[in-house]
Symmetry: C2
Subunit: 347 residues, 2 copies
């Protein structure tokens, strides 16, 4: 990845920390009225007026969360930003600012760090987010990214995981399982490449699933759409660890149960085909695969009319008074959902 992208290499140590920050950030223009002061002081200064503020942070570590063998640096920067934005949309808010902690070892030249930043800056432009601060340092081994995202939501309109009520409808956006199948494809190609460096991968049958893995998008469109439809979800979460794990978060924090229906879970045809090729169930990919960054929400029955013809939403089940969360299969079996999602601490 590093070798074939850019023949010119600049040693970061020669620039120093402040030189590096200047190089990376001098083209940044403020996009949000709430950003009074961005990069360049002890802290960013923000003015949220009459809105509530949302804050979330993440840590992305080479070898744990991504593998640079098949993850281009620009995509990595983009994804690191977008997956954090997703947390804000999952609260029913809009993202306004981003801070990025970045640690690199000496093996990364300036051009590599610039590529990561380029991905972050593209994400910020597309999502209308101001990059307002961060920290850049060295690491002994590997690349570490630590984004923190800030957002706003109208007063008392934040949607928590804890508000689901019996009989609420369970709704997801988009389709599920594709990002996980994309990961399996990339891992397979990487193994093949290691065995035979002459191998030219043909990813064309996997365009969609690979893009869902390498360049996921967060559902920026959903909070304004919910407002337009006059729907205040009772609970919401983004699907980062797989549908099962996220449903369990909502049922446990809301003290309710859930039933979802296997045949209702939206899965793209390419995900189905790729899963067949890998001999796994596409349902497994959707339930446990993770990294789809779609939104899972519960809404009141009265809101059904407003969403039933909207292509953004799929109703997959309902909340129950009985505790316990279940998948109802096509042959009417009732299987308890388990959080088998990817667990970074078990690696």
């Amino acid at each position: 990845m590093l070798q074939d992208k850019n023949p010119s290499k600049t040693d970061i140590a020669k620039l120093g920390e402040f030189g590096l920050i200047k190089t990376l950030t001098e083209d940044i223009k403020i996009q949000n009225a709430s950003t009074l002061k961005g990069i360049g002081d002890d802290a960013a200064v923000l003015r949220y007026s009459d809105l509530d503020t949302l804050a979330s942070t993440d840590l992305l570590i080479e070898g744990i969360h991504f593998d640079l063998a098949y993850f281009p640096l620009k995509h990595l920067g983009y994804k690191a930003a977008v997956v954090n934005f997703s947390d804000i949309y999952a609260m029913n808010g809009m993202v306004t600012q981003l801070l990025v902690g970045l640690a690199v070892s000496n093996r990364f030249p300036l051009e590599a760090v610039q590529e990561i930043y380029e991905g972050i800056k593209v994400a910020c432009r597309i999502y209308n987010v101001d990059l307002v601060g961060g920290d850049t340092t060295s690491s002994r081994s590997g690349l570490i990214l630590s984004p923190t995202v800030l957002g706003t939501v109208a007063k008392d309109k934040a949607v928590y995981r804890s508000g689901a009520q019996p009989n609420d409808l369970i709704v997801v956006t988009g389709d599920l399982g594709a990002a996980y199948m994309g990961l399996l494809v990339l891992q397979r190609e990487n193994e093949t490449f290691k065995a035979n460096p002459q191998h030219q991968p043909d990813l064309s049958p996997y365009t969609y699933v690979v893009e869902r893995q390498l360049k996921p998008e967060a559902r920026k469109d959903i909070p304004p759409l919910l407002k337009e439809l006059d729907i205040q979800p009772t609970a919401m979460i983004d699907i980062s660890d797989g549908l099962s794990s996220e449903i369990l978060h909502i049922t446990q924090q809301s003290d309710v149960g859930a039933q979802i229906y296997a045949e209702k879970i939206p899965i793209d045809p390419q995900t189905v085909l790729t899963a067949e090729e890998f001999n796994i169930s596409e349902l497994t990919a959707a339930l446990n695969g993770g990294e789809d960054y779609e939104l899972l929400m519960t809404i009141r029955q009265k809101d059904y009319e407003m969403i039933k013809y909207r292509k953004e939403f799929t109703i997959i089940g309902h909340i129950t008074e009985d505790k316990g969360a279940y998948l109802i299969t096509q042959d009417h079996q009732k299987i308890a959902l388990k959080a088998q999602g990817w667990n970074a601490l078990k690696d």
Copy 2:
């Protein structure tokens, strides 16, 4: 450090990410009215009403920013929090919330992570800060801490690095150079211990300098004191990289120059004695040592009367129209200040 502290060991992988977060955070109580929702959802929810918001983030990496051979885990957690708080005070604000990203390798048992969190929580209690979110994951090698801090400041009262004017007085709080001498003492003791594990270190002559290194405090008292004295500094920064580096930040960003006087720089007698023992100039420790987390500010001449008898402040020089920042020695030599502060990217 890990071996002799706690004989019981609990494997983090057994707890899983969510179990670990619950164990670490279940005793946290909200202290600030601005914290509507803390840990446990996709994002924290905060309400700042009529105040401006401040945000800053840092990345602390084992082997680069700290050495666990002589840095107790609880102190590490405390310091990671406090050095971030310092960035908010340097903006003339008060800290309200903290988010913490934490990555540990398998060699850390639960008890070790709890110690780090205990230090963070103690800092939060003392500084009246709410721990509202974070991320906990594994790392392939070593410990990574990534705190993000949020704070508030009255509208338009944030103090930037860029506001210093010719003839403003240059003022520092506390004393400088001690944290660096503490680091040298700890490094020496660690080398001695490695050569002879029977060696019992006697740190009693170095209590102050070692404490300044292991348990620094941020100047929470200064923003309210400035308000009480009705002083709005023209520029302010915290001293993390050494006085020289920070003065250059202010002069460069304010487009002015500076003269400071060697004999005015406040240095504790223990710092002087320890520097003598290590055969270095105490001025070098103060100018280039860093990690003192005192505040450096510029104030208007008219404010002189308000601070001249306050023990918290020392006037060390003044801002000049001529660019260039100089140290005036006791024998009236004029030496250009250089940013020789510790640079994490050059390690």
